[in-house]
Amino acid sequence: MPESKPGRFSLTRIAALAGITFTGLVRLKAFYFLLLFAFLVIGSSVFMAELTFQQEFQILKDVSLGAMSIFTSLLAIVATAQLIPRDLEDRTIYTILAKPVPRYEYLIGKLTGVLLLLALSILAMSALFLGLLFVREQIVVSATLRSSAGLPAAEVEQAVRTLKASAFNANLLPGIVLIYFKAALLAALTLFVSTFASSNIFTIVVMVFAYLIGHLQATARAYWLQEHGAGWLAHALLGFVALVFPDLQLFNLVDDIVAGTAIPLALFARTAVLGCVYTSVYLFFAWVAFHGKEL
C-alpha cells in the first residue's frame, strides 16, 4: 500500500518528478550544444588573454564569468520553456496528474529538475574556468620566477603573491553562486510564462524580452528620471516595471570581481535572498495560473 498520503506535500513525489525532469533534460541535444559553446568561449578566453599580456587574468575572468552567466541564463530559459508543452503534447501530464499528485508538486518537481541541471552545468563550467585559471597562473608564475632569477627573494615572493591574488580570489565563488541564482530566477519566470503560453517558442520570445528588460531597466530608469524628472506617475510606472521584472544587473558582479573589489557579505546575502524571493514568487504565480488550467 502507498506509504505517503495523497494530497499532502510529499518530497518523494517531488524527487521522482525532479529526477525524471533532470534525466530528460540531460538527454536534450540543446543542453550539450549550449554547454559546448560555453566551454569553447571559456576555453578561447585563454588565447584572448595571451593577446593582452598585462591584464590576462582579468580578461580570462571577464570572458569566462560572462559566458557562464549568458549560457546558464539561456539554458534556464530553453530547458524550462519546453517542459509543460511537451508533457501536454505527449499526454504524459494526464497520466501524472491523474495520480494523487497536487499540481503544485508537479511544478516544484519540474523546477527542481531544471535547478539540478543548472547546478550541474555551472559546476562543469566552473571546473573548466577554475582549472584554466590555475593552469595559466602556474605558467605565469613559472615565467615570472625564470625572469626574476638573481632578484632578492623577498621581491620575487611579493611578485608571485601579487600574481596569485590577481588570478584566483575568494570573490569568484560568490560571483558564481549569484550567476546560479539569476538562472534559477529566470527558470521560475519561464515556468510561469509557460503555464499560459500557447507554445514554447512564444515562451522563449517573451523570456528574451524579459531578460533584456531585466538587464536594461535600471539604466533606463536612471536615465528617465534624470531627463524627465520624477513625477508620481513616472515613479509609479517605473516602480511597477521594477517590481514585475527583476533588476538582473543586481546579479552581475563580474565587473567587481574582475577589478578585484571585495564583495561585501551583506551585498551577497541581499542579492541571494532577492533571487530566492523572486524564484518563489514566480513559482507561486505559476501555480496560480496552472492550478485551474484545463488540460
Partner: protein
C-alpha cells in the same frame, strides 16, 4: 465508502472560444452512475464529449456546472484519485525510460517505495507480459506494448477504478485482444472499469453497461444485453439439425402468428478468423 464508484450529476461543460463570443457545449446535463466492479462503456462519435467527461471525472478539467464523484469524493479533490488509474488515448510516456523505470516512476508518484515498489513492478510486468522488454527504452516499444505499459502504470497502486480512454486505438487485432483480455481480468478481480471506445464489438463483449453520447447529451443508457435485445424476436441456435427437423419447425410455424424472419448459419467473427490465421491466442 460510497456504494457508487462513479457518480456524475447534471454535468455540463462549456468551452469558450478565444477571441469570439461563441461557446462550445461539450457536455450537457449528463447524469450517470457506475457501480463498483462494473465495466462501463462510454460510446459516441468523435466530439461527442466522451474524453471531456473522463477528464472531468479525473479532475483534469473543471465542470461548468454539476458534480462528479469517485467513491463519494468530489473529483476536484486530489485525494479522490488515490484509488484511480488512468490510461489516456494514444499515450506517449517518457521515451528514454525503460518499461521498469516507467513503473518505478509512477509507483513513486503513488507513494510506493523500496521492496513493495519492486515487487509491484515485477507483478505488473508479468501481468502485461512485458518482462522480456522491461530493460528496453519505451522509444523502441510498439504501439501495443505502449498501451500495455500504459495499462500497467494505471494499475500500479492497485486502484479500485480504472479509466481507459480509447484503450485499443491504433492497436492491431492481436494487441487489441490482449488489452480486452486484461480488462476482463480486471473485471474478474472486482476492479471497476470506465472506458470509452470506438470498437463497438469489444465494448459489447466486455461491458456490463453502456452510455451513448451524442453532441454532449446521453441519448441511451443501460445494460448491454437489454439495449441490444430485440424484444419481439427470439433466436434459436441448433446443432446437428437435419433438414427434416427444420421442415417440421417451418410447418409448425405456418399456422401461428409467428413469422420466421431469417434462417442462416452462425458465423465466426473476422477478428477470430484473423487471430486463428495469424496464430494468435484462441478465441475464448
Amino acid at each position: 465508502m460510497s456504494d457508487v464508484a462513479v457518480a456524475v450529476n447534471d454535468l455540463t461543460k462549456v468551452f469558450p472560444i478565444p477571441f469570439r463570443r461563441s461557446k462550445v457545449v461539450a457536455v450537457r446535463g449528463l447524469n450517470l452512475e457506475v457501480a463498483p466492479g462494473q465495466v462501463y462503456g462510454l460510446l459516441g462519435p468523435n466530439g461527442s464529449g466522451k474524453s471531456t467527461t473522463l477528464k472531468i471525472i479525473l479532475g483534469l478539467v473543471s465542470p461548468s456546472a454539476g458534480t462528479t464523484r469517485i467513491f463519494g469524493r468530489d473529483s476536484r479533490e486530489v485525494g479522490s484519485r488515490e484509488g484511480v488509474g488512468f490510461l489516456p488515448e494514444n499515450p506517449y510516456f517518457y521515451k528514454y525510460l525503460t518499461g521498469e523505470e516507467t513503473l518505478f516512476f509512477y509507483g513513486k508518484l503513488c507513494g510506493l517505495r523500496g521492496a513493495a515498489l519492486r515487487a509491484r513492478t515485477r507483478e505488473l510486468l508479468t501481468l502485461v507480459r512485458l518482462e522480456a522488454a522491461k530493460d528496453r527504452p519505451l522509444g523502441g516499444y510498439s504501439k501495443g506494448m505502449l498501451q500495455r505499459i500504459g495499462l500497467a502504470q494505471a494499475l500500479v497502486q492497485e486502484p479500485k477504478l480504472v479509466v481507459l480512454d480509447e484503450p485499443t486505438a491504433g492497436v492491431d487485432p492481436e494487441g487489441s485482444r490482449e488489452i480486452r483480455d486484461l480488462i476482463l481480468d480486471l473485471k474478474r478481480r472486482g476492479i471497476t472499469v470506465l472506458l470509452s471506445s470506438h470498437l463497438l464489438a469489444h465494448v459489447q463483449e466486455i461491458c456490463d453497461r453502456v452510455g451513448i453520447l451524442a453532441h454532449g447529451v446521453l441519448v441511451r443508457e443501460g445494460r448491454v444485453d437489454e439495449l441490444l435485445a430485440i424484444e419481439n424476436q427470439t433466436e434459436l441456435v441448433l446443432e446437428n439439425v437435419n433438414p427434416e427437423v427444420l421442415a417440421q419447425i417451418r410447418r409448425l410455424l405456418e399456422n401461428t402468428a409467428t413469422r420466421l424472419v431469417e434462417e442462416r448459419q452462425p458465423q465466426t467473427t473476422l477478428e477470430s478468423l484473423f487471430l486463428a490465421a495469424t496464430n494468435g491466442p484462441p478465441s475464448p
